[in-house]
Symmetry: C2
Subunit: 287 residues, 2 copies
């Protein structure tokens, strides 16, 4: 991990170029996927990626050693709604060419969390120093893609209108377990008027690779949610008496399950700081 | 209209054959569309067509004089959810080849209603005697098609399980008016558990030609429905506290609107006695 100019001496020419660019005053066009990745890799951007590269898929990140990765892949296969895999690396490779020719998973996310035995041990801006040749990277679909489709259709999304995080809840619905990975499904909630709820179901049904259709509508108690005003993650949003709360499987589920499994080693993205890919949201539409 | 053997004297050879067949003991395979139509045309079947020709589209019928037909077509075009046109005849023709090569709209429905100035003046089994060369026939999609798709997916439909009619309600939602045709949308209601309600929305969205996606979920009061237990048409069905009432635009809407317009002349099918077509339900799927 390049932390200061003092560490450059042992680096290659290319690494030196990267370090030099980091010290430069270059700006990056974060409206493009490559620009967004370069902003993290070279431009020192350390914030969230919401709003970057409109129209392109952003992914949650889970990086695990090979033996755990096999079990995690099985977990995702069994639980595609909370854990839709949009890309996966070869063992030890920090690249996922299908998501971007120039995409380096070690450097292109604005912030990471490094986990040991279920605890966060580092929150670096680059995980080159933590990289191992047994690591497998999973990119997991994220609700940004379907929210973009909802907004393009003219729907209002409450937490976006209020400029806060989407409310998320741990449910009483167990995921299908796989090896060391098990736990409840986490859901996100967006309230809509009835006609918009129907439209939101239609639109998100087209995007199975980014959580797809809602898993529940209307009766939060059936999910074990006793108070919508008290989300387990994110921020509460008001739900009108003329509205229907609509619940989608949430990408926090795999992070929650990885944390509970207390793997000896894992890397995830820091919340809100996603990997921006070259894949168009529209390409994920099932029809 | 052939009512007895006494009237046969002036008929052609073909009409004579029809009358002879009517008096025969022939049986008809109502599991096929042609068999279902022949049962009405030749076999004296006068009952409902529910369950006939599984897999094939059945249609509501509206037959109007040309000048009214133009306005009614415009009304349907403006209100496709309650009034999805699946077939339309040439002026004066009792045939709609697109719905069946051997389909005669005058004889192939088990029961008709003949209207004058908004009142039912006859409920014949065949409208040959009422036919006019200025009549235009509309076949309008019916919920049988989407109910079949729901059942095939494993969903339970309450009114079918209870062997009663679907509950229908006049709403406070006005249709877009066209000429003399105007009035509120009528909806049908089917209760489902939340996950099944989501699935029902997905499935019926695929069938825009047979009412398509629901128009409302969850808040009947917003449609002006004060008591689900008191439908305006059909029978009440129980709605569980863990369920969501799901409302679809209903094919009773065009009949209700035609009745209110008090046309000088009109013919419709009698309730539950539909025109059975050669069109497969699956052909109506939008994707």
């Amino acid at each position: 991990m390049i932390q200061s100019a003092d560490q450059i001496c042992n680096l290659t020419w290319a690494d030196g170029m990267v370090a030099a660019l980091k010290r430069s005053t270059l700006t990056f066009d974060v409206s493009t996927p490559l620009g967004a990745r370069h902003a993290a890799r070279l431009g020192g951007h350390r914030g969230p990626t919401a709003g970057f590269a409109p129209g392109y898929v952003q992914g949650n990140l889970a990086i695990l050693p090979k033996d755990l990765a096999d079990e995690f892949l099985r977990f995702c296969q069994l639980n595609p709604k909370p854990c839709p895999i949009i890309g996966m690396s070869e063992v030890g490779s920090p690249f996922i060419p299908a998501l971007g020719a120039d995409l380096d998973i070690r450097t292109d996310v604005p912030g990471y969390r490094v986990w040991k035995d279920g605890e966060v041990v580092d929150e670096p801006a680059d995980v080159t120093a933590w990289w191992r040749d047994d690591l497998v990277t999973f990119a997991i679909g994220c609700s940004f893609s379907f929210e973009e489709a909802l907004i393009e259709d003219g729907l209002s999304i409450r937490h976006i209108d209020l400029d806060c995080n989407v409310p998320m809840y741990r449910t009483n619905v167990p995921c299908a377990p796989a090896g060391r990975f098990a736990g409840p499904m986490v859901v996100s909630m967006r309230p809509f008027k009835p006609a918009d709820a129907i439209r939101a179901i239609q639109i998100t049904s087209r995007f199975p690779a980014v959580h797809g259709a809602p898993v529940h509508i209307g009766h939060p108690g059936q999910l074990g949610i006793s108070d919508l005003a008290k989300p387990d993650y994110g921020d509460p949003v008001p739900v009108g008496s003329d509205e229907i709360p609509v619940f989608w499987a949430c990408g926090v589920t795999p992070q929650s399950v990885i944390r509970a499994a207390k793997p000896s080693f894992a890397i995830t993205h820091a919340p809100g700081k996603m990997i921006v890919t070259d894949m168009k949201n529209s390409k994920l539409a099932a029809f």
